[in-house]
């Protein structure tokens, strides 16, 4: 993934509010990085731009040579579906679906998720929730829900795994378990892992840590 001079501004009544002021970096498969910084520094904005959920004001993002922001709406959605996995602080599970169905949610974009059921079960096995496949999110603990969210993010074997405060809502022990799982799976899958976090403990477990301040990345 190559990010070149990425800038983001938000329009306000007082004029444009700059958030990112020229972020550039390059990450290869298997690399993992933690992005840290104070509230409002633009961490999540960077993450969502990388995940193509938000367009940059200027600059370029390419993944495997493809600039997703040059794609049309349908192609962009397909790109996100195949190439990007998300893990949110608030796990965002569908309360109406079972654990297995939640994991299969990205696969539904193709219309039929059946070909992905085995992989989903395997992932659930890997995150230790094979026995809870038919449970509803409401029947799970916070850590379990986040593990389901991780399995969901990886079900289509994306190149890029983006995590927004994945342990932010968890107690220390559970956070540690979830972080281990995340890193194990990242290694297994060979994804590019970008984790936005306030947690120094979590960041410390990642090989690379960047600090985002005044809209620019600084290595640590």
């Amino acid at each position: 993934m190559r990010v070149t001079d990425l800038r983001k501004e938000y329009p306000t009544a007082a004029g444009p509010l700059p958030i990112l002021g020229g972020v550039s970096f390059e990450l290869r498969r298997g690399q993992a990085v933690a992005v840290m910084g104070p509230s409002g520094s633009g961490k999540s904005t960077l993450l969502y731009i990388l995940g193509t959920l938000e367009p940059p004001t200027s600059g370029q993002v390419t993944l495997d040579g493809v600039d997703p922001f040059a794609l049309g709406e349908a192609e962009l959605a397909a790109f996100r579906n195949r190439q990007v996995g998300f893990v949110f602080q608030d796990h965002c599970l569908l309360p109406q679906c079972t654990v297995l169905e939640n994991v299969l949610t990205p696969a539904l974009v193709t219309g039929d998720a059946s070909p992905h059921v085995d992989r989903a079960r395997k992932l659930l096995d890997q995150v230790g929730l094979a026995a809870r496949a038919d449970h509803r999110p409401a029947q799970l603990s916070g850590g379990e829900r986040q593990r389901v969210a991780i399995a969901r993010a990886l079900v289509l074997q994306p190149v890029l795994l983006l995590c927004d405060e994945p342990t932010g809502n968890l107690d220390r022990h559970t956070a540690d378990t979830v972080a281990s799982l995340l890193l194990d799976l990242h290694r297994d899958q060979g994804t590019i892992l970008v984790v936005v976090t306030h947690s120094a403990e979590l960041a410390a477990r990642l090989p690379v840590r960047w600090q985002l301040a005044e809209g620019r990345l600084q290595g640590t």
């Binding site: 969502y48 709406e73 109406q96 949610t105 998720a113 059921v117 969901r152």
Partner: protein, 1117 residues
Amino acid sequence: MRASTLVRRSLRHYWRTHLAVVLGVATAVAVLTGALVVGDSVRASLRGLVAQRLGQADVAVRATRFFREDLAREVEQRPAFGASFLGLAPLVILDGAVTHEESGRRAAGVLVYGVDERFWRLHGRAAPAAGPRDALPSAPLAAELGASAGDTLLLRVQQPSEVSAATLYGRRDDQGRTLRLAAGTPLAAAALGEFALRPQQQSVRALFVPLRLLQRTLAKPAAVNALLLDAAPAVEATPVAGDAAAGLLREAASLGDLGVAARPVAGGTAIAVEREEALLDDATAEAAVEAARTVGAAPQRVLTYLANTIAANGREVPYSLVSAVDGAPWSALSGGAPAGDAIVLNDWAARELGARAGDAVTLAYFLWLEEGRIEERHATFTLASVVPMEGLAADRDLTPDYPGITGSAQLADWDPPFPIDLSRVRKPDEAYWDRHRATPKAFVPLARGQELWGHRLGRLTSVRVPVPPGADAAFAGRYAQALRAELDPIGTAYAVETVRADSLRASEGTTDFGEYFLYFSAFLVAAALLLTALFFRFGVEQRTREVGLLRAVGFTPARVRRGLVLEGAALAVVGALAGTAAAWAYGAALLWAMRTFWVDAVGTDQLRLVATPASLAIGALAGILTAVGCVALTLRGLRRVSARALLAGSRGDEAHLGPTRRTARFAVGGALAAGLLLVAAVRDVIPAAGAFFGAGLLLLAAAIAGQWRWLARRQGLPKGAGARPVAWLGFRNASYRPGRSALCVALIAAATFVIVSVGAFRRDAREGAGDPKGPAGGYALVATSVLPLHHDPHTAAGLEALNLAGEAALGGVRFERFRLQPGDDASCLNLYRPQNPTVLGAPEGFLRAGRFSFQSSLAATEAERANPWLLLERELPDGAIPVAADANSLAYVLHRKLGDEVVVTRPGQPPLRLRLVAALRNGLFQGELITSERAFLRAFPDRQGFRFLLVEAPAGRESEVAAALESRLADYGLDAVPTTERLARYFRVENTYLSMFQALGGLGLLLGTVGLGAVLLRNALERRRELALLRAVGYRRRHLTVMVLAENALLLALGLGTGVACALVAIAPAVVERGGTFPAGSLALLLLAVVAVGQLVSRAAVALIHRAPLLAALRSE
């Protein structure tokens, strides 16, 4: 797992939220489908009434006169009869007035049937047990009269007369007959008691009288005036049955059945073609002439008239017949060509007058004028020659049979229907009568005779066909055959009515109640759909993170929306199924209301619930499509919201859907435009009604936009003490989601606007009562009679003849007399589509007076524009008759517009085209089409006298005058009612429609108020942390209650106030112009109900808020 699994899972998981959506759709579908079910039910009920009232009668043959009862048998015996018909029954059908002797109660306009066992057999029933003088009333007639079996009923019917009362020789007095009858057991509708050939939804007042008794009383032995035919099932409701009946009648009817006689006269040397009516109408005369030519004879036209006096040389001969002839007869008599003033006397008359050729001879004769009085006129001739009494000059058959004259043994026995002075009759006159009877004493040229005595009903009394020299004995038969061939029974004396086909067509109705209820329910449906959309929107707003997630994992916005729409569609289907079931209950409730407190709109309680599969499908489908459309609309905004915002739980509409400067500009522009319209209207630049209504609507839109903007920008600090600052906080809460608040205000304001503006169109029959331009034309009474009135009540002779002389109550009373062609009621009181509307012939004086007001007309001249009644005097080049009609009847009953035509059928004559040239403003003439008297007489020459009266009476004496008229003219079956009463019957229908609209609109408004409650609750739930904070800083529960109630009160006040104020602007000129009243009381009640419901739902919202764990919410913050 497939994408649809997600939809199914969501449907099940969010069932509580979805339940509200389903209920909304179900309500909308129930209302939509219920409206269509009402339409189905009314149509089916009308069809049911037709079937019940017609029994087995499919075709009716009606005649302008009585004909041989045997014709029925002869028709039945025709070989072709069995191919199309199963049975036939002759009967007498008359209008009558029935009096219950014991109570004196009277019912006019009763259908009187003279029937025997053949009538009941036709309908597959045994004849009810009844004695020879027993009459069987229909149950409604018995109820109206309070008559029980065995009571005495006095039936008054018109005595059929061969000689028209419109001519000098017609009987105008003693034209009715009264029968004393014993009431039998009243006949229920199911027992054919309400038999009627003309469809009507109201109860039928009918009386079944033994046929023989009626024939005897009317001196019409073995004669009837109608035939009923039961057609084979395959053709019973088709025109084929009518064609078959017409064919049979054409085969079977004899000359006598057409009222025509071809009798040998002058010792068998000629055939005289005459009618029983004495005058030979033009069509028959033409046929007689054509037939004569067919058999090689030279026809002679004759018109014989009575001269009161033949005077010459100071002498006179009283009461003599004079014949007008032309051609060979005239030449033979006068020895020359016809000269305008030539007269020929027979030698007896010349001798009595001492007259010689060249002397002046004056004839005095009576004319019966159309306005209802007799006048003696004079004409002077020059004696051309005197002829001996031989040949034609001695032919007493030149004079037709005049009842009361020609049959008398002596002159002194004459009993004509006009005044004669028998003291003038001398011995020689008696001797002449004794020897020569009605042999004419004088002859004049036919053209001159027709000029003096020709009548619209005929200009000849006979056509004489001399038997050609050498003709064989069969000549008379050949001629009769030729004459019969020239005369089509259907075109001259009979009308074939396909009563079942016509009635079923009519039962499609003038008023599509399904359509009306769709209009009436518009607000209810709109409110239900709005709630549907609102609840769905609330549901989606709960799931914004879910939507964001789906976008994040690769679903396109369109696909996410599609999924949600699919959910909405599934809910709509479930709602539609529930709504379709509920539609039965809703439809049943509406029908119950229409049978009870809305009965004035339909005039019958004979309504049963019927729903066609098509209506159920249409209602359900319309509900589904509309609901899905609403759902799709509510999801439109989601597309603009970024996935990130959705994941953060934002609905995204805060930034996109708020009021902008454009909103403010719209508000100001709308108000300015409304102001301009009002100024233009005040200065008469544009019509006031439209301008004010437009201004009201513009103001409404502008006010709502302005309020939206105002709500969004409210600021300032709370003032005051006690509950005021807390209430102020509540008012500020209305600014939390200004779009939602403005939506609620808009719904309430729009519904209030419609309900208030509709309410102002209620009519009161008393308003404008004395105004000649008002709905009653300034007339106090309207009267109709069973028997025609012939005499002019403004003359002493007329008063005397009508038995009105000396009646003190009639002082200062004036009458406007209309001729009446009975037909279908064209007013809103008739739910059936009128096939042959009632037509009135208005006298010239009435037309000139320019009373009543017109809504529109085809006036082309200044005079016509000033008085559109004058349009009725136009002679239209294509032969159509110009008519005026009530504007409402025109639009909603006849479904016609100006310039269109209504085609009516007439027995014995070709169909008549009535061209609509003027539309009266809503008033007294809702049930009739009006034409000029002159055009009426041309169109309906057989109609005699006047049967419809408008009466001017001194104020305050209306009841007294009505009572006097009904009493004095009881023999005519006169029924007089105040014009306000007639108008009130019409206005009750209109007002009931308005009540329906208001009731259903009010329900919509209440439903909208429930929506307001839902919005309040939703707002409160969304801000539960904020409310929890208030609790934390010391606010008590009652403070929160005050806040919510204040917010609700503000929105309700804005909605109601805006709606009422704008409606008042909109309807101001209409109220002034149309004379409507403003029903402040009932509207205040409705608005109070809205406020009450609003407060109730607020209380419910407050209760739910108090139940929510507010402090837990605060902790979660």
